[in-house]
Subunit: 382 residues, 2 copies
């Protein structure tokens, strides 16, 4: 095999159950990738990440090119060995982080010059350099460099960035040396304009990638806009290739996107929320900073069988969060990643059983019910 393999083993409506084959193992899809920005899923050992059921993690080219540097990571045996993660790794190209984190960006046809958010040092990222860096990191899945612009922007600006992304995609493909179990994904841009998304998808499919990502979401647009773009764009992508919705999202977003044919996700939400006191549960989110939990011995999620829910109660997590203890971040992150992986496993099971629509309805109902119950309690002064 050259590149990575992808096989869809079951379909239910537009939802797909699949397997992504890489140099470091097979990823079950739909898959959620925990974000390991700086070669660490924040607050988690790699063993604990694996324990949650995660089969692939994402790492950030932008962060790793600044620190510790790709040459160093390569000399140390690559990212898998460096971060003690033996399973697949997807690296993003750095396009999104250059836009959101760095200072003094200068985008030209050649690439993007910027200053590091860490020490102000000058860096340049071209499509070719992004591919080179991801190769040095040893990514199983590399991403083509894109220009990701903020939302909203005039259509002309969005079109210009999308067309630059297509030209960069062509250069990325040319720079990428295919090898067994390593693949390259292109990134569809075009904002909330279905015609621009279609043009972008057409460009990328013509170039030919191992998978197709949908970028430029989770930048402030309305949820309905994203779902409508997904509905229009996903069918334009090859059925035999994985589809990856970048940077999304909330649990309900994952269910909606899987229903529209998405296979892969990444998002900082479970990890970042964990560090700010939030727990995801089957009945909605809890803020563990809230004093209402101070005497509550129940686990974070009564339906959850993760090590955190088996061993620790809400009162304890409330205490840790209020005391600023690292363990509060650790336990909440661990549980949240479990919640996300459990959700993905439930969706995979539902697709296999042909019951995805029923699952999605039940998923929404449980949360609405819980939300209703909460509203009643709130009125009652609780």
């Amino acid at each position: 095999m050259t590149g990575i393999g992808f096989a869809v083993s079951a379909e239910d409506g537009c939802a797909r159950r699949g397997h992504l084959e890489t140099a470091h193992g097979i990823v079950q899809t739909p898959a959620f990738m925990p974000v390991g920005t700086a070669a660490t899923v924040k607050a988690m050992t790699s063993e604990a990440v694996a324990e949650t059921g995660a089969g692939i993690v994402l790492a950030n080219t932008y962060h790793l090119m600044l620190r510790p540097g790709p040459e160093r990571v390569r000399a140390l045996g690559g990212l898998h060995r460096f971060m003690n993660w033996p399973s697949p790794i997807l690296t993003d190209s750095g396009g999104f982080q250059v836009m959101s984190l760095s200072a003094l960006r200068d985008v030209t046809e050649s690439g993007v010059a910027f200053r590091s958010h860490i020490d102000g040092g000058h860096f340049e990222l071209t499509p070719e350099r992004a591919i080179e860096i991801q190769g040095m990191l040893g990514a199983d899945v590399a991403m083509a460099l894109d220009e990701c612009i903020p939302h909203p922007r005039p259509k002309d600006d969005v079109a210009r960035a999308m067309r630059l992304t297509s030209r960069w995609a062509e250069r990325s493909k040319a720079a990428f040396a295919a090898s067994p179990g390593r693949g390259l994904f292109g990134i569809v841009q075009g904002g909330s304009f279905n015609d621009l998304r279609a043009e972008s998808a057409d460009d990328l499919v013509r170039i030919g990638f191992d998978g197709y990502a949908l970028g430029g979401f989770a930048v402030g647009e309305e949820k309905t806009v994203m779902l409508s773009v997904l509905e229009a764009t996903a069918p334009l992508l090859p059925a035999g290739a994985p589809r990856y919705l970048m940077g999304v999202g909330k649990p309900e977003d994952l269910v909606e996107a899987v229903a529209r044919g998405i296979d892969m996700f990444d998002c900082v939400l479970p990890t970042r929320s964990g560090r700010t006191g939030q727990a995801f549960t089957r009945e909605g989110a809890l803020n563990l900073r809230n004093a209402v939990h101070a005497d509550d011995p129940r686990p974070l999620d009564e339906s959850c069988a993760c090590p955190v829910c088996r061993g620790y109660g809400r009162a304890y997590v409330n205490h840790l969060v209020r005391a600023g203890e690292i363990l509060g971040s650790v336990l909440l992150t661990w549980h949240n990643l479990h919640y996300y992986q459990d959700l993905m496993a439930e969706m995979r099971g539902a697709i296999e059983a042909g019951g995805f629509q029923a699952f999605a309805i039940d998923f929404a109902a449980r949360r609405t019910e819980a939300g209703g119950a909460k509203a009643v309690r709130a009125q009652g002064g609780g």
Copy 2:
């Protein structure tokens, strides 16, 4: 059994190999107790603490009385359940923390009134209240309230505090309701004055405790002073009761103190150092912030078999520490606790084999050698 049991199974010189029997299991001595100040060994899950080989942890009455409050912990089923730690727990009495952390202390015959370092709230700790709190927490080993004064102080001040500690010890003993597997330790004070230490030991032995702690060390005195006081005082304590050296210390201190008949230790050093980038190794300490580690793939300690040393290298830990990643604190703390537990296990083995003196000589030599090698490398510009 009422109270806790203690049996010495082997002696080698003054060093003792023993077993402390408590309501939550047997502790192998000499034992090192990781410090779980606010009901958490900082940055560690309780499962990871257990994995290091720790058989008992310490928690702080002072911190827990302020937050989350002992009544709350009792209502939640006690400290073991609260922090998910099924093995023995020793709680200190709060005396040391009141001295070192709180503001506006007012020590009277009755007890000590103080303001919380968290929110300035008024609290009072008497010998009776300290016992009551430790009972609500569910400690296996409770400590009698002591007055721990800074070093150095005039002998009259030290004598006054020591005699108050003795009177408080008597009240503590009277307030303590013995129950199976739960015990109370008295704390020997007297600073660096052997005659005051002897008077204190005599007072406490007359009152009668399940074990005897040596307090008032690690407050800035010379190392030789501590060892000389230990040599003079340990023999005055009952051979059949455990001896606990509070707040000590560095690895070499543990070896020196075990050689002088100490059975139990606690110290924040392995955990606090872990959060500031330091690793303990068999060849001395490493500062993982140092750029010299940035390209070094070796484990923290090449002789260590802990999960951190099996999975992660110095270059990675250096990266995590420099990037301010939580995982840096987690991995260093985990390794350091392993190092301490391994050291205790080695000492227990050496005592059983009758080779403690040889062990102590070898322990010191390895560190001196490594220190010498380091000095040479430094001269060579390394």
